[in-house]
């Protein structure tokens, strides 16, 4: 700004009419300050083999252990994944996947047996995974009304036009409106432990605590005081693909309506076309028994969600998590690789430094 104000003075191009009355009495000598004379003490980051070399070694030394740590952590994570789309004819869900209709009243169920090779300690997170599902499509992402989801009454009755063409159905506003809500994942997954003695034990799945705290408590909210949802949602209609209205998602009033956690999780659109979303949590009961014992299990699916048309896949994932999230060896490998490359480059630079750096030094001295 200093600069521009200066220019303004210079630019006005007046022929100074001020004459003797003018104010130009001070000496025009520029101030001798380090700033104005561009003599501020400066650090000159001249990168040479000599100066960069230690940095490379240090970074190598830091990155490789981190990488190993990450890799080990990732490897310690138990993860089990099962595809239940039913593409193959042999697959138990093949039938269900074939005849599909959003509005079928007859739920199609299928059960998939699987076995865990290892027992799962700690809390186990149960995900459903979708592939080739572009939740990040621009038009799809847009198709929601945050204000409605926040419980704003006006938006409830008058959904934003971003929701089009899922804003109104039969002249009633859709709640929740938009394509995201409309396409909500609606399979029901249940997990049974096949006790070696032959009984099927239903594993208790926790449906709360799967959404972000901020989403549940700040971003999403039911209209009104949220006590009588049926009344609050009066005059709205359910999304076209839904089987039941939003206020019947759960019996628990704290997990019903817009603050139903399954719904909230779905509404946070995934970044990539292959994604998983947290479905349930299998909490650890006590410290002595592993959460999931190794052995045979059965996954019971109420098959509602169609993915075959766009060659999508549906998966169920069981996973423990660590401080760095789910299982992903990539970061560990990346760190190890980058660290090793740094080390290698450090050596190369060392050679270069020896070859050229010394010559320079001697030249310096001779001068």
């Amino acid at each position: 700004m200093m600069a521009s104000s200066y220019s303004a003075k210079d630019e006005d191009g007046h022929i100074t009419v001020t004459g003797p009355g003018g104010a130009a009495l001070r000496s025009k000598k520029p101030e001798n300050t380090a700033f104005k004379q561009q003599r501020l003490p400066a650090w000159q980051p001249i990168l040479t083999a000599g100066t960069v070399l230690p940095a490379f070694f240090i970074i190598g030394l830091i990155f490789i252990p981190i990488g190993i740590g990450l890799f080990v952590t990732s490897n310690n994570i138990r993860e089990f994944e099962i595809d239940y789309t039913g593409v193959d004819e042999s697959s138990p869900c093949f039938n269900c996947s074939q005849n599909f209709s959003w509005n079928s009243t007859q739920p199609c169920t299928c059960s998939i047996p699987f076995s865990l090779e290892q027992s799962y300690e700690n809390n186990v997170f149960m995900y459903y995974g979708l592939s080739n599902f572009y939740q990040n499509h621009r038009r799809y992402v847009k198709s929601r009304d945050d204000s409605q989801l926040n419980g704003h009454l006006g938006s409830l009755k008058q959904p934003s036009k971003e929701c089009e063409p899922y804003a109104k159905h039969e002249n009633k506003p859709i709640a929740p409106c938009g394509a995201i809500a409309n396409s909500m994942f609606n399979d029901t997954l249940e997990l049974f432990y096949n006790d070696p003695n032959g009984t099927k034990v239903l594993i208790p799945l926790r449906a709360t605590g799967i959404a972000w705290w901020t989403d549940k408590h700040v971003k999403f909210g039911n209209p009104g005081d949220g006590l009588n949802l049926t009344a609050e949602f009066q005059g709205t209609t359910k999304p076209v693909n839904w089987r039941k209205p939003v206020y019947e998602l759960d019996s628990d009033p704290l997990n019903n309506g817009f603050i139903n956690e399954d719904f909230i999780v779905w509404m946070r659109t995934a970044a990539l076309p292959t994604f998983r979303k947290l479905y349930r949590i299998i909490s650890r009961k006590d410290n002595m028994v592993p959460t999931l014992l190794r052995g045979n299990y059965t996954l019971e699916v109420v098959y509602n969600y169609p993915v075959r048309s766009f060659e999508g896949r549906k998966r169920m994932i069981l996973s423990t998590i660590s401080w760095m999230g789910g299982k992903n060896p990539f970061l560990g490998i990346a760190y190890i690789t980058v660290g090793s490359v740094c080390f290698f480059l450090g050596v190369v630079l060392l050679i270069i430094h020896h070859k050229y750096g010394n010559r320079n030094n001697s030249a310096d001295i001779s001068n």
């Binding site: 000159q44 990040n136 979303k277 490359v341």
Partner: protein, 1380 residues
């Protein structure tokens, strides 16, 4: 905006243009004018003149009809008004392509099918840019407004019709036809015709420093024939009508006539016009009638505002921006096609919205969406940034202490604001000689009279001493000056004490006033009256001759001059004294007052008679002269003189007594005394030069010295007594001042000047009033000036002419008289020519002095025609020129002078440095070849073993052949040399070991060489030469040469000059530099940068030019990098979102990322980065060459940068991608680490690229990073439902609370920067770059500096102790060689 400025400027020049046509030029430019100035339609229709009547005079009716259309005196330089600011400003801003692009994008986002972001978000960049520029414009405009208001509210005394008196009125209320009364030191409020001056002769002096920077006073004359001279002027009865030209911007021309009721027309010209914003000086009261007011005044019409040039770099930039557009289109097309294909393969997806649109149409929509999404790729904000950066660079250039001139108290002026980086690419430098390489402080050096040379050995020695002294005694000169100014201030207030009342009304602070005055006087006195120029040591031989007739004792000694020679000498000095336009002032007197013209003493009558005898009116009478015959008379003459002086000192009445005294009655007793005085005073003046260290001491000495002849002066010339040495000469050119001072050293003193007469002291004669008949002023066509006077002694009409030797020599024809005379003349001419040549060889400026005695009838005849010419309105200039040329024929050569024009300090060093920097230095001068070559030697442009190629051809064919021959020669020479210096040329081509070619070409040959057919030969030849000297070149040729080189070789040119003759060259070159020196301000006004010394060029180019260029080039590259890098992240995301145009970032963050978070660091980088320290750049000028050939900003650098950006964006996108793929990451959570690492990468990339990092850089980087995280966190906490569909609530807070975020950022940032870091390290190690060398050189440099300082201190100390040593130049601080 530039364009608009340009158009405005164009319009104004068109409007003001009115070329040389005068009254009768082609009428085709009328329409132009009328559409531009609807107000003035009335008098446009009336033709090209305006009629002015007195507002309160008898012609009220006419006044009302005519003056309605004339503008008032209020000025408004603001572009906007308060109410219309926003629409006007917006209108102007949308002239920019960049803003239109933004507007297009903003509008595009309103198309529903294409819409990428929320509608308001795409408006932000546009709004920000508009707001920034609007604020800048508003501030500028407000400043103008304040200034206008101040000017408009200045008070002037204007005649009021009702009260019949002069009342105070604001300037803005002054109208055409008003009478304005001004006092001394007041500023003229509008262009006025001078009608009355308190000066009895009707003159008035104005100072035009505000207008053109010239500090000498200009004389203005009351309109001739006005009946009311001498008494107070009565405006209410002013009956005349004034017809004059329409307003134009030609400061030096004004034509018109005043028609009295009687029908008599009186011509008006420039010398009747008082120009707005000039200052009245030395005249108590003036009254004028306003003819042009406000914006129609010449001062305002000349005010063309800043210059707009397009820099080379910006032109290059545009091609790269085009590449960016190509890149953008490719990316958008990819997305469009990708989306189409993706959609085609997709059947009935759950997530589908609007699946009924055909893939092709959807692809088409996506194309436009992507243009919005990737808009940042076109670095439109770059233009705004570049502008800001250049302002910053200008700020630093302007504040550089090294470019500040202590003596003149002037900084560098940056008039063009947008070509700073061109300074770093100069390849050819065209320099004027006089005033540019040299001081233009002329010092009389030697002369030749009557064919006899007077070498002035003492004087030459003095100059040397002075030179040696100059460096050391800088502070002394300051004290000297201030002492002088203090004196002049006191006397100024004496002379103008009456005006101080009005001064108070102008500004309340009279203290300031005084100071300002003294400043101006200080500047003025130091301008041409440098101590060095004043104190000429006379040549003893010449003094002897001049005093010969006053010292009869020497009669017998050898070398007695003939009477003819004496007459020559006397005439020569008389010519030096009076043939000029010097204004004399002495501190104790207002300068226009001629010291009371004492009636010549009666005794002089006789002297005159005698003088007439040895004068030589008809040269045929030469033979009648014989030395013995007149030998007696001088004695008588002197004795008489002497008697007069002597008796005068005792009683004035005794003068009469001497009248009767016989020539033979010498008073022997007094003779020695007079001689003593003469002898004493002569060395006295020179003698104190050595001791002038202390002005007080000097004054003491002077007092002591002047005391012996004090009594004489007291009686005879009362005002001289203590003023003797304090006459101030204000000359239009330094040559004139030098000659007047030289004459004064021989006691031929110009004491005063009035329009009709000059008061001159002659040695031994005393004060004489010389009747001044005419002055034919200097013009560059005639190359001479003349005065016509009535000779004080002979009473004849004599023309004294002073001019360039070439012209005078041609005009000095031998008269048709006797053979003897002819022979005699040609002898003098030959001798003089010989001397002239030798002067030129020494690098002196030569002038010839000639005279011509006119018969009365002859004069009468000429006078008649001259008066006719003077009073004519049409073609006045041509007629006057004709008239002058008629008079200046058949001159008798009196003698020649050699004036030394010393080199400015450090010129050789500067030129050497520039040459080492690979800049070809050409000198274009109007001087003689010999002079030019000598100056070239002096300033080391030429070195002893350089080979000089001189091209002086008589005809075009010869020229063609000669050029070919020279080319061949040069080729041979160079072929022989190429092997040897191939290695050495790199570093030490300038060391002088290799001889190179210097072309010297004279004006005429240049003319031929510039013609179409020979152009190529000339170019080829000159481009092989190290330097080219063009002598005797005209201003037009100068600009032609510059144009030739600039256009044909396509190189960056710089022209530097100081005078009006350099203006065309300065305007032609890519960079024009004006030197604000002795010759007014024309050069400065047309320049891009104005400096005060030539030596500043080296810092300006080598340091600032280099910096500005490298800064800007690097910043531009960085800008491209930044945009490509960031935009590509979005592009890569398209591959995983079905090319649908999704973004993984909150749209606010996306837009603000470039606009705020990463916008300031590049600016700081562009303003503050120093790729090498200033000392290194100065010490190793070769470093300049990198920028010259635009090595930093070359196409491949652009592509390397773009590739690097691609790589970085790939890393920055795909490491997070692989780290998060398959997980439950949401869109914004996915974008969060990508954005953060992009920010880190972009900021750290800058750190890598920066050459220097100061705390400012640190602060700015921290603030940038901080602002991003601050914004993002705040946003993610507070934004509940805002910014759909990318609502950021909770995203960043959650992300940043997880270690994964940091793990990803760390590896991404490092991996992205790894290659560049590695490349930099390896490159700078393997190629030991100058950067490293520089730190080494710096060490050596500081060591050198320390040593030099030690030595300097030592010598300084010694000098202080033993003043004698000051003579010894050996003790001058030696400039140690900078780099080995």
């Amino acid at each position: 905006m530039e364009r608009l400025h340009w158009v405005r400027h164009r319009c104004r020049t068109l409007l003001a243009g009115n070329p040389e046509g005068g009254w009768h030029s082609a009428p085709d430019d009328l329409p132009n004018k009328s559409f531009l100035d609807a107000h003035c339609s009335l008098h446009r229709v009336r033709g090209k003149r305006r009629s002015v009547f007195a507002r309160h005079g008898p012609h009220r009716q006419e006044y009302d009809t005519f003056s309605k259309s004339y503008k008032g005196n209020a000025i408004r330089t603001t572009k906007y008004r308060l109410l219309t600011f926003i629409p006007m400003n917006l209108f102007q801003q949308f002239h920019r392509a960049a803003n239109l692009y933004f507007l297009f994008l903003a509008l595009l986002n309103w198309v529903p099918a294409v819409e990428a972001f929320q509608k308001e978000i795409t408006m932000i960049p546009l709004l920000v840019v508009l707001a920034v520029i609007a604020i800048k414009d508003a501030l500028e405009d407000y400043r103008r407004y304040l200034f206008d208001r101040k000017v408009n509210n200045n008070v002037a005394r204007v005649f009021c019709g009702k009260q019949k008196a002069y009342n105070d009125q604001c300037w803005k209320d002054v109208r055409v036809g008003d009478f304005v009364r001004l006092s001394c030191n007041e500023i003229i409020p509008a262009d006025m015709l001078l009608l009355y001056s308190s000066d009895p002769r009707g003159v008035c002096y104005i100072e035009t420093a505000n207008l053109d920077g010239e500090t000498n006073l200009k004389q203005r004359q009351v309109v001739s024939d006005l009946p009311l001279q001498g008494e107070e002027f009565t405006p209410e009865s002013f009956p005349s009508r004034i017809e004059c030209e329409n307003p134009n911007n030609d400061l030096s021309r004004f034509r018109g006539y005043m028609e009295h009721p009687s029908g008599v027309r009186v011509g008006l010209h420039n010398s009747n016009l008082l120009l707005r914003s000039c200052t009245i000086r030395n005249t108590e009261t003036v009254v004028g009638i306003v003819v042009y007011a406000g914006h129609e005044t010449k001062a305002m019409m000349n005010n063309s505002g800043p210059r707009y040039k397009r820099s080379q770099l910006e032109k290059r930039l545009n091609t790269d921006i085009l590449w960016c557009v190509v890149l953008l289109i490719i990316m958008c097309l990819t997305s469009a096609v990708g989306h189409g294909l993706w959609l085609k393969n997709l059947k009935d997806p759950v997530f589908g919205v609007n699946t009924d649109t055909s893939p092709a149409l959807a692809g088409f929509y996506v194309f436009w969406t992507m243009i919005i999404v990737l808009q940042v790729l076109i670095p439109i904000s770059l233009y705004v940034s570049i502008e800001i950066v250049k302002l910053g660079q200008i700020y630093f250039i302007h504040n550089d202490l090294d470019l500040y001139n202590e003596q003149l108290d002037s900084r560098i002026q940056c008039r063009a604001l947008n070509i700073t980086e061109d300074l770093g690419q100069i390849q050819y430098l065209f320099s004027d000689k006089t005033g540019t390489l040299t001081e233009n402080k002329m010092v009389f050096c030697r002369c030749s009279i009557y064919g006899v040379e007077y070498p002035h050995v003492e004087n030459a020695r003095r100059l040397e001493v002075y030179e040696a002294e100059k460096n050391k005694a800088a502070d002394h000169s300051v004290t000297l000056r201030s002492g002088c100014s203090a004196k002049s201030r006191s006397c100024r207030s004496l002379s103008c004490n009456r005006s101080s009342v009005s001064l108070h009304t102008l500004t309340a602070d009279s203290e300031e006033e005084d100071e300002q005055l003294s400043n101006q006087i200080q500047a003025r006195t130091s301008a041409f009256c440098s101590r060095m120029a004043k104190e000429v040591v006379p040549d003893p031989e010449l003094v002897r001759k001049l005093n010969w007739f006053s010292s009869p004792l020497k009669e017998a000694s050898s070398g007695t001059p003939s009477s003819l020679e004496l007459a020559y000498i006397t005439d020569f000095f008389l010519a030096l004294t009076i043939c000029n336009s010097v204004v004399v002032s002495s501190p104790s007197q207002p300068r226009h007052v001629v010291p009371e013209a004492r009636t010549p003493l009666k005794s002089l009558e006789e002297i005159k008679l005698m003088f007439q005898r040895f004068s030589f009116p008809p040269f045929s009478a030469l033979s009648t002269f014989s030395p013995p015959q007149i030998r007696g008379s001088p004695r008588n003459f002197t004795s008489r003189l002497f008697t007069r002086g002597k008796t005068g000192s005792f009683s004035p009445t005794a003068n009469n007594a001497t009248d009767g005294s016989e020539p033979g009655r010498d008073n022997d007793m007094d003779t020695p005394k007079l001689r003593c005085i003469l002898d004493f005073s002569a060395p006295g003046e020179g003698g104190n030069v050595a001791q002038v260290e202390d002005d007080i001491k000097k004054d003491d000495i002077k007092d002591a010295k002047t005391s012996p002849d004090g009594p004489r002066q007291e009686v005879e010339v009362d005002s001289d007594s203590d003023v003797d040495d304090e006459l101030l000469y204000e000359a239009e050119s330094p040559d004139e001042a030098a000659l007047v001072h030289a004459a004064r050293a021989y006691r031929c003193t110009l004491r005063g000047r009035s329009p009709e007469s000059l008061l001159v002291d002659l040695p031994g004669i005393g004060s004489l009033a010389v009747q001044l008949l005419h002055i034919l002023p200097f013009d560059s066509n005639r190359k001479r000036m003349s005065v016509v006077v009535r000779h004080p002694l002979t009473g004849q009409v004599v023309v004294y002419t002073k001019g360039a030797d070439s012209v005078i020599m041609d005009l000095a024809e031998t008269s048709k008289g006797a053979e003897q005379a002819q022979e005699f003349h040609s002898h003098i001419k030959d001798q003089s020519q010989k001397h002239l040549d030798s002067y030129a060889r020494e690098g002196l400026r030569t002038l010839c002095i000639a005279k011509k005695a006119l018969e009365e009838e002859e004069y009468e005849a000429w006078l008649k025609r001259h008066l006719l010419a003077e009073s004519s309105i049409e073609n006045r200039e041509e007629l006057l020129l004709d008239s002058a040329q008629r008079l200046e024929t058949n001159l008798t050569l009196l003698g020649t002078t050699g004036i030394v024009d010393r080199l400015q300090e450090d010129v050789p060093e500067t030129i050497e440095a520039l040459q080492r920097a690979g800049i070809k230095v050409w000198v274009l001068t109007g001087d003689k070849q010999e002079t030019a070559i000598n100056i070239a030697y002096a300033c080391k442009l030429l070195r002893p073993n350089d080979r000089l190629l001189t091209a002086n051809c008589g005809s075009k064919d010869a020229c063609a052949a000669f050029l070919k021959e020279l080319k061949l020669e040069v080729q041979c020479g160079q072929d022989g040399l190429t092997e040897a210096p191939a290695a050495g040329a790199h570093g030490e081509s300038s060391s002088g070991s290799v001889s190179s070619f210097i072309l010297v070409i004279d004006g005429q040959t240049l003319d031929w060489a510039l013609q179409e057919e020979l152009k190529r030969d000339f170019l080829e030849l000159s481009s092989r030469c190290k330097a080219v000297l063009c002598c005797r070149s005209t201003p037009l040729q100068k600009s032609e040469v510059v144009r030739l080189i600039r256009d044909q070789l396509g190189v960056m040119t710089l022209a530097v000059g100081d005078g009006a003759n350099d203006v065309s060259m300065i305007q032609m070159a890519d960079v024009g530099i004006g030197i604000s020196g002795q010759e007014g301000m024309q050069a400065v006004m047309s320049s891009d940068f104005a400096i005060s010394r030539f030596k500043h060029l080296s810092k300006l180019l080598l340091v600032h030019g280099h910096w500005c260029y490298s800064r800007l080039a690097n910043m531009i590259l960085y800008f491209f990098y930044k945009n490509v890098m960031y935009v590509n992240l979005l592009f890569w995301y398209q591959f995983v979102c079905g090319f649908s145009g999704s973004v993984m970032t909150n749209s606010w963050v996306l837009i603000l990322f470039n606009l705020i978070f990463t916008s300031v660091p590049p600016l700081i980088y562009g303003i503050l980065d120093q790729d090498m320290p200033a000392e290194t750049l100065k010490g190793v000028p070769e470093l300049y060459q990198a920028a010259q050939t635009s090595k930093i900003y070359v196409p491949h650098m652009f592509w390397i940068t773009v590739l690097d950006a691609f790589y970085q964006s790939l890393v920055c996108f795909f490491i997070p991608y692989f780290a998060l793929t398959g997980s439950d990451v949401g869109i914004l959570s996915f974008g969060s680490p990508i954005n953060a690492s992009a920010l880190f990468i972009i900021l750290l990339h800058q750190v890598l690229e920066s050459h220097t990092l100061t705390w400012i850089h640190g602060l700015v980087l921290l603030l940038s990073g901080g602002s991003y995280f601050g914004f993002v966190l705040l946003f993610s906490v507070s934004c509940v439902t805002c910014s759909p569909p990318t609502n950021p609530l909770g995203v960043e807070t959650l992300q940043m609370s997880q270690p994964l975020f940091y793990i990803i950022c760390a590896v991404t940032t490092f991996t992205a920067l790894l290659p560049r870091m590695l490349f930099r390290a390896v490159y700078s190690t393997v190629h030991r770059t100058a950067a490293l060398k520089s730190s080494h050189v710096e060490k050596v440099e500081s060591e050198n500096y320390r040593k030099r300082m030690q030595r300097w201190n030592l010598s300084h100390y010694r000098v202080n102790r033993l003043p004698v040593c000051a003579d010894n130049p050996g003790l001058e601080p030696s400039t140690a060689s900078v780099v080995s």
